[in-house]
Every structure is written in structure tokens, then in C-alpha cells.
């Protein structure tokens, strides 16, 4: 499945950043998913549940923020939010379109577990 490979890349990037920033346990991973990135949040969540099993991220939450997609029409200059089942310009029906926003799939931030003493936090349900 497409999203499984992507989640694998997400966890590898999170692991790399945590090493660089000296983060212990991670409370939440926050992703930004563009509407035109071809990545489906529903499947990301499903793959995430499967991929974190028996890893240090077993208790880490996944937060997904969606970024709206807009397309620009090269023929009439119209900029619009597309109907994903019909990728044509609503004004002139051209297919000569370029995404302006919503193309990216980004690791926005990592929220470390708040470690006051050596509490057993991170076991939220």
C-alpha cells in the first residue's frame, strides 16, 4: 500500500530528528498533508497503527493537518479549489492546470513527552 511506504519514511525522519535534537520519547508526530499530494489521511492512520507496533512510537499519537489544494489554470488564469473527481477548470474546462498549494507532504513538528521526573507518561489511551 502506498501509505505504508510513506509512513516508513515518516518514522525514519522522526527518528533522525529525535537523535539530532536529543529527544527521548515522543508524545505526538504532526504531519501536514496537502489535498493534492495523493496521500490519504485515512490510510495514513491505518498504516501508522500497524507500523508503530513494537517500536518506540507505540504510544505516540499521530496528528494530521490537511492543507487545502488550489489549482491554477494556464488558459484563463482562474485559481480554484478543484473537485478531485473532475480535474478541469470550472471556468473554461481546460486541463492545463498547475497546483499552487496542497502538493506537499510534510513533517511539521514533533512533540516530545513532557518528562517532569521520570514519570510513566506517554501511556495515554
Amino acid at each position: 500500500m502506498h501509505e505504508m511506504g510513506l509512513m516508513d519514511a515518516v518514522l525514519r525522519m522522526v527518528t533522525r530528528v529525535c537523535e539530532e535534537e536529543d529527544v527521548g520519547r515522543v508524545d505526538a508526530i504532526v504531519l501536514e498533508v496537502g489535498e493534492l499530494s495523493g496521500v490519504l489521511p485515512h490510510f495514513l492512520r491505518e498504516c501508522y497503527e500497524a507500523i508503530i507496533e513494537d517500536t518506540p512510537y507505540e504510544h505516540t499519537r499521530l496528528e494530521i493537518e490537511t492543507v487545502p489544494g488550489t489549482l491554477y489554470c494556464h488558459d484563463c488564469g482562474h485559481e480554484f479549489r478543484p473537485d478531485l473527481s473532475d480535474l478541469r477548470c470550472p471556468q473554461c474546462l481546460s486541463r492545463n492546470l498547475t497546483p499552487r498549494t496542497g502538493r506537499d507532504f510534510t513533517l511539521k513538528e514533533i512533540i516530545p513527552v513532557f518528562e517532569e521526573e521520570d514519570g510513566e507518561s506517554g501511556d495515554e489511551t
Binding site: 515518516v10 525522519m13 513538528e109 513532557f114
Partner: protein, 223 residues
């Protein structure tokens, strides 16, 4: 230890792989090996295209094929028979190859003595487009029965491609496939895309593709 703050990353998920792919390209440049990433849907004729290409070029270039397609362990034998070295990579059911997996394959394969290595990526038009393998160029095969609207449905694949082989043109009369429309749609996504209509079965149009490969390998080795 940094227990309080939120770590702002704001990096594309693909950034690490892209950087790794650039490193792999430099390594391959150093040893004078040209890596081509070949992508397509299953059933588009990748293996037949490879077999004919190997037969045409094996006397002038030292060739290798890395097979990553899930259904292709039968194909590796066909490739060896055609006259190229071949290796089967195990992607563990993954839907694409990334730069790190490609590097592991390259190391296991031993490519120092090869001029051209073709990486047969996993057969689909989505995931392989997102992950740079470290190849010098990307080629896509689209076959006539798949339809001319594929560049509209899989835009990223046609954006990252440098070359498009339109395969199975010998069956054009039997399908509602419009080569002009395909060219128009593909160039909307990628104006610089080179398109070669071919039939890997009859050999029609294949010479232009061989010439492209010869030029590419020559330029890579000389620059």
C-alpha cells in the same frame, strides 16, 4: 535533553531520501555507471522492452538489470538469457524503491564494471514517482491498452519522467488510444518529456530509444 519545546521540523517527508539519492548519483558518477530507473504499471511490457534493448546494446555496453518488481522473479532468468547480468531485489512487499534500497542492491550486485544499469522499479504509477532512487534519469513505459489519459490521472509520474515509451503501438488499431492527446496531456505535466512510440514486440520505433540510451551513457561518462 530537551523536554519542553515542540520540535519544529517543517521538512518534506521526501527530503531525506532526496539527499540520499543525490549522494548515490555522485557515487555512481565516480564509478562511471549510468543508472536508469524504469517505471510502469504491471503488464506494460517492461520485460519485453528490456529483453529487446539488451539484445540491441549488449555488444557495445556492459549491461545490468536490477529487478524490484514483486512479480518478476521469473523475469530475471529471461534477462540473463538475453545477455545482461541480473539481480532480483527483495523489497519486502514495499510499493517502491528508495535510494537506500537501491544502494543496497547496487552494492550486492557489484556495478563497478557496468556501463548501464536499469532498475526495474515496482510496477505501479504512484509510489515509485515519489521516491528518487538515485538514478540519473527516469523512464516510464505506458502501453496502448492502458489508455491515453494516464498523465491526467498520475500527474506526478509524468512530471518526474525524462522519457516516456509508449509501448504496444502494434495494437493501436484495436484500441481507442489517441497518441496526440497523450502527447498533449503528457507535455502539460512536463514540457521537456521525450516521447518514443514503440513496439517491443515488433521492434518498431525502438532505434530512437536505443540512440537515446547510447547518448545518455556517453554523456554521463564524459562529463
Amino acid at each position: 535533553m530537551n523536554p519542553f519545546k515542540v520540535i519544529e521540523v517543517k521538512e518534506s517527508i521526501f527530503a531525506d531520501n532526496n539527499a540520499d539519492a543525490d549522494r548515490l548519483r555522485q557515487e555512481l558518477k565516480g564509478q562511471g555507471t549510468y543508472l536508469l530507473n524504469l517505471m510502469s504499471s504491471p503488464g506494460s511490457g517492461k520485460t519485453s522492452t528490456l529483453k529487446r534493448t539488451i539484445a540491441a546494446l549488449k555488444d557495445e555496453l556492459r549491461l545490468g538489470v536490477m529487478e524490484a518488481d514483486i512479480d518478476s522473479d521469473v523475469d530475471a532468468a529471461a534477462i540473463t538469457e538475453a545477455g545482461a547480468r541480473a539481480i532480483q531485489l527483495h523489497t519486502g512487499g514495499m510499493c517502491h524503491l528508495d535510494a537506500d534500497m537501491t544502494r543496497q542492491g547496487i552494492r550486492e550486485f557489484g556495478t563497478e564494471d557496468l556501463d548501464l544499469v536499469i532498475l526495474e522499479n515496482v510496477g505501479n504509477l504512484v509510489c515509485p514517482a515519489e521516491f528518487d532512487t538515485g538514478a540519473v534519469k527516469n523512464a516510464v513505459i505506458l502501453s496502448v491498452p492502458e489508455g491515453h489519459d494516464k498523465p491526467l490521472k498520475y500527474p506526478l509520474m509524468f512530471e518526474v519522467a525524462n522519457v516516456l515509451l509508449v509501448n504496444k503501438i502494434d495494437v493501436l488499431p484495436y484500441f481507442d488510444f489517441d497518441l496526440e492527446k497523450l502527447t498533449e496531456y503528457a507535455h502539460m505535466r512536463n514540457p521537456g518529456l521525450q516521447i518514443f512510440p514503440v513496439s517491443a514486440k515488433t521492434g518498431e520505433g525502438m532505434d530512437a530509444w536505443y540512440d537515446w540510451l547510447r547518448r545518455e551513457v556517453k554523456n554521463w561518462k564524459s562529463k
